[in-house]
């Protein structure tokens, strides 16, 4: 049971909910950049919500199925076709053995999730099927899909076709967004003015936006409080003694362009971090295209936890809506 990759698209990888537990060795959790979309796609096709699916960036793959399967596409607006016949997004549809699943041009967002009944059955590595490309770990031989790959599928559960995610529970993709940030970490290194500017300025997603991190441009450069650089840090005021980086943390190498670290993040390094994007907004980042306008919004821990609770509620409503 498998499907054949006729064309991999731009960058299509196998992802599940990730590989926690090895960050202390520099191996990031990886997993779907948009976890909500992954869970939704899996629930639509009767998979456990953490099953492995495909994450396609900007362009969809072309896949030929060896077996009958149920498929769902969520996340980015990447219209699916089966043998040329269009199928709606956020909805389960059948693909029969011998048919080809392909995609039109991207209409919004950045990452689509393609779940297939039975789930992708590549061998787990350190407890997860997620692909960590830099470490050549997990997924399909530790790399993105390529033409000619035969990707194995697990055994499907019985599913009803035509199940769909209610419109209110689909993430809308916009041209601009707000990201909530809890200041902290090395915040004290920047001047009060730089801190104010960071939240006032409009930033744009730079072309360097991938699974490791998203870079932002367009705001004013950062100024630093005067201090003697501590031993071992390096001479630039944006340098620190190499330390751990939280997921979502915002580092600013050279004090110019903030980078938000994402699921394939480096686990540490020598640039200061000014705080972190709250966990509830991490999925949103993964659907931002380059040039998306972003404002960073300052929150406190209480607001961060409230955002997290809202996100959990949305997920609970999704599970309820798709309960078999």
């Amino acid at each position: 049971m498998a499907f054949k990759v006729l064309n991999p698209g731009l960058l299509t990888t196998v992802q599940d909910l990730g590989r926690p537990g090895y960050f202390h060795l520099g191996i990031p959790m990886s997993g779907a950049m948009d976890r909500y979309a992954l869970r939704a796609a899996n629930l639509l096709v009767g998979n456990p919500e953490g099953a492995a699916a495909l994450e396609a960036v900007f362009m969809g793959p072309q896949l030929e199925f060896e077996v009958d399967a149920t498929v769902a596409v969520t996340g980015a607006d990447l219209p699916a076709r089966v043998d040329g016949e269009p199928h709606p997004a956020w909805t389960a549809f059948p693909v029969r053995a011998g048919q080809v699943l392909s995609f039109d041009y991207l209409r919004g967002g950045a990452r689509a999730y393609i779940a297939i009944s039975g789930g992708i059955d590549t061998p787990p590595a350190l407890g997860s099927r997620s692909t960590y490309i830099i470490g050549a770990l997990g997924g399909y031989h530790g790399r993105a899909l390529a033409s000619g790959d035969m990707v194995p599928l697990g055994s499907p559960r019985a599913v009803q076709h035509g199940m769909e995610v209610p419109a209110a529970l689909r993430r809308t993709v916009e041209r601009s967004a707000e990201l909530r940030v809890l200041p902290g970490l090395y915040w004290r290194l920047i001047t009060e003015e730089a801190g104010r500017n960071f939240f006032e300025d409009e930033w744009k997603v730079a072309p360097e936006a991938d699974r490791m991190g998203y870079r932002f441009r367009g705001g004013r450069p950062f100024t630093f409080n005067p201090r003697e650089q501590p031993f071992g840090a390096g001479s630039n005021p944006s340098n620190i003694v190499d330390a751990c980086y939280p997921y979502g943390s915002i580092q600013v190498p050279g004090g110019t362009e903030p980078i938000v670290l994402h699921r394939d993040a480096v686990s540490g390094g020598g640039y200061f971090t000014l705080g972190a994007v709250v966990s509830a907004d991490m999925d949103l980042i993964s659907q931002m295209q380059p040039h998306t306008a972003v404002r960073f919004v300052k929150v406190d821990m209480e607001q961060a936890l409230a955002a997290r609770a809202d996100e959990a509620q949305r997920l609970a409503r999704l599970r309820e809506a798709l309960a078999a």
Binding site: G26, S249, G270
Partner: protein, 291 residues
Amino acid sequence: MKTRYSYGGDEHIFVEMDEEMSLEAFFKSMSITNAVRAAHIDGITEVCPANGSFQIKFDPDRIAPDRLMSTLQSLEQAAEKADKRLQTRIVEIPVYYRDPWTTETLMRFRERHQDPAGTDLDYAARMNGYDTVEQFIHAHHASPWFVSMVGFVAGLPFLYQLVERERQIQVPKYLRPRTDTPKHTIGHGGCFGCIYSVRGAGGYQMFGITPMPIYDPTQKVSYLREFMVFFRPGDIVKWKPIDREEYDAITADVAANRYEPRIRKVTFDLDAFNADIDGTNQRLMEALHGV
């Protein structure tokens, strides 16, 4: 040393033992992270020690952030009294300095460098007051180094030079990080040396390359069969300079699965080291070479 606690978003607590790097900060961080692991606190999902700091990842649905924060603070006091002795191992790592691959890469990224006219080694030698690159290379491999953190990318060791602070090599990181670094590059940034375990981005100055893999996700390399990552914090490294011929020979041995790195068990005692650095290092060398 002044410990500083901070939240990293709603899922992390970051604890810095000291702004500046020292072995004292490393040992204190290690003691607290050991105590955190031993306490089996519900809701903690990752414990990540770094050079002189550490990070805890937690699930705020299982433990309230402020509650975890105060638990960590209470563990700090006990860590102050912990033993500063470590049962560990010393490993000899072959290094081909001024190799063609890192040289090609550093030329390619010259416009991101402080000194576009020279090489990373020229720059590092000058920054550290050495007249020649040869003298600098000698200072780089003459004394052992201590693995004070594993991370950045899969299995990359950060290395802290075991000499008096005045003699420690320090160099700035690249002005803008490179998008490419050869696999197994020996790098240096701030006071830290490193071995790039995989190919990828990097901001450290590049001095050479080792033929010895330190990360193997397929676990085919003989000495990585048990676990894909070679290094652990607390390991001690001694560089051994090699030439192209030896580099090629070791590469062939690794491919044929007959390469065995030289590894010996040692004890590292921080107080003994501080009391007599040269004597401690000499004992480490004797242990490594079995004299």
